[in-house]
Symmetry: C2
Subunit: 272 residues, 2 copies
């Protein structure tokens, strides 16, 4: 349907931003598995005249370890090309002199080393997965409710993601839980925060209308990018669901079967 | 402040509904502890010309076991005087021929015996406390997201409650989590559902304006009762917080230090 339209508009693009989990690979046991054609699609984009960045809400591992995993899966990718919420959160915490209570996956803790975490005056949650126990969520709640003005940061606001063994609840679900418990609104760091997308555009030195976001998450990838003035294309991999194509408020500029197909169309229309 | 007003209006009352946890007792290790003066306050209400019922969102034990606990704490109370969400939920499930996936505390499971729970077509959550693990919440999520039209029932919608060792997250927090994950609105069974309050009024055979609700939860006890046309008085025990007295949308008809004090004022103004 939309397939005929978006690649034509894409001729004036200068840069592409790729979501990672569900677009490049499916997570699961060990490193997970690369989605067929994605490794080559990244190579072709890198050989093209387009700039390329990666933008993830992945918060189960430090950025270094996360990128190392992608490299083991066969992707040509480096740390400086990847934007993720934890480094962005550390900047915000340092700027504002905040001491976080962390409810994050163990693998993410190294990102926060060097920050004072005693006597916390805010809570930061990431995709903590199994660490989202009743006890741990209750501990985070008690820190928040004990503050004069509860301050909650959420590394992303995803509902769920797909691992090789099925759908898993994401951080946004627990963000909503704590928001309700404490009657506060969380500050989201990561997609779909405009500040986060803008930092990627700044790094490429291009304007929003010159950039295309490709993701599997209709609301956070596609809708988030569109809110910033970028084009947004959804792929039918990862957490994609057929009902996304009749979503009440977000309509992708295009929907393609996978990254490989999207890159085919994009480069074909650019004569590459 | 409000203390001067509400007992005067209370002269025309015919019945009183008492919340239980945080009003009669504080939960915690073992049976918890009776709040000083509450055992006697219940006795005095029972000796008065007012009808008395108890209305709880407690869902950690079957109603039989819950009432037995209150009796051990010294309260003069019987099962038929107590309204709780699980029996109400069982009625709804039977009426609609629904097969629940249950995410509830083990102690509540006996209430649901006899219901077909294979191949579930809805999810029922109660105050599952430690059973609200990531794995269990994910299981409930997968049932919901696998249904054509996700159907979620929540036994209450409380934010948190107080046990002897501190504040604990309540079922409403996990209701909001699953609502967000599946983009659905839960059906609440228990306070503050008007259907639930009305069933208590029906049992007493009185009109809303003839009834007073006394609770520690400003939104669910006081606000819920007021929405049904009843008077609502909050006590400064249990989950009461000073900020409740400047809440943006709910204003109690009165706020008293504890149940004993509220009953003093009520009976004094009725000449009893």
């Amino acid at each position: 349907m939309a397939a005929a339209g978006w690649p034509v508009c894409a001729q004036s693009l200068k840069g592409v931003i790729l979501d990672m989990c569900g677009v490049l690979y499916d997570s699961g046991d060990g490193d997970g598995v690369a989605i067929p054609g994605s490794i080559e699609a990244v190579q072709r984009l890198k050989r093209s005249d387009l700039q390329l960045r990666f933008c993830t809400n992945e918060t189960q591992a430090s950025r270094d370890r996360f990128v190392a995993k992608l490299q083991r899966l066969g992707f040509d990718i480096s740390v400086k090309e990847v934007f993720s919420p934890a480094p962005a959160a550390v900047s915000v915490l340092k700027e504002r002199g905040l001491r976080p209570h962390l409810l994050v996956y163990d693998g993410l803790l190294p990102e926060f080393e060097g920050l004072d975490q005693k006597n916390p005056n805010c809570v930061v949650i990431g995709d903590a997965a199994e660490k989202f126990s009743y006890e741990n969520l209750n501990d985070a709640f008690r820190v928040l409710i004990g503050l004069d003005k509860p301050l909650l940061f959420s590394l992303g606001q995803g509902r769920y993601y797909k691992e090789t063994d099925g759908l898993k609840l994401d951080v946004g679900v627990y963000m909503k839980a704590l928001e309700y418990a404490c009657d506060v609104k969380a500050q989201v760091i990561g997609k779909p925060s405009p500040t986060f997308f803008q930092s990627v555009l700044n790094d490429m030195g291009i304007q929003p209308h010159e950039a295309l976001m490709i993701g599997d998450d209709l609301v956070n990838d596609v809708g988030g990018a569109q809110s910033c003035g970028m084009m947004g294309v959804q792929v039918r991999t990862g957490k994609y669901r057929a009902s996304d194509e009749r979503h009440s408020s977000v309509r992708a500029d295009g929907t393609e079967d996978n990254l490989s197909r999207a890159v085919d169309l994009l480069l074909h229309h650019r004569g590459q």
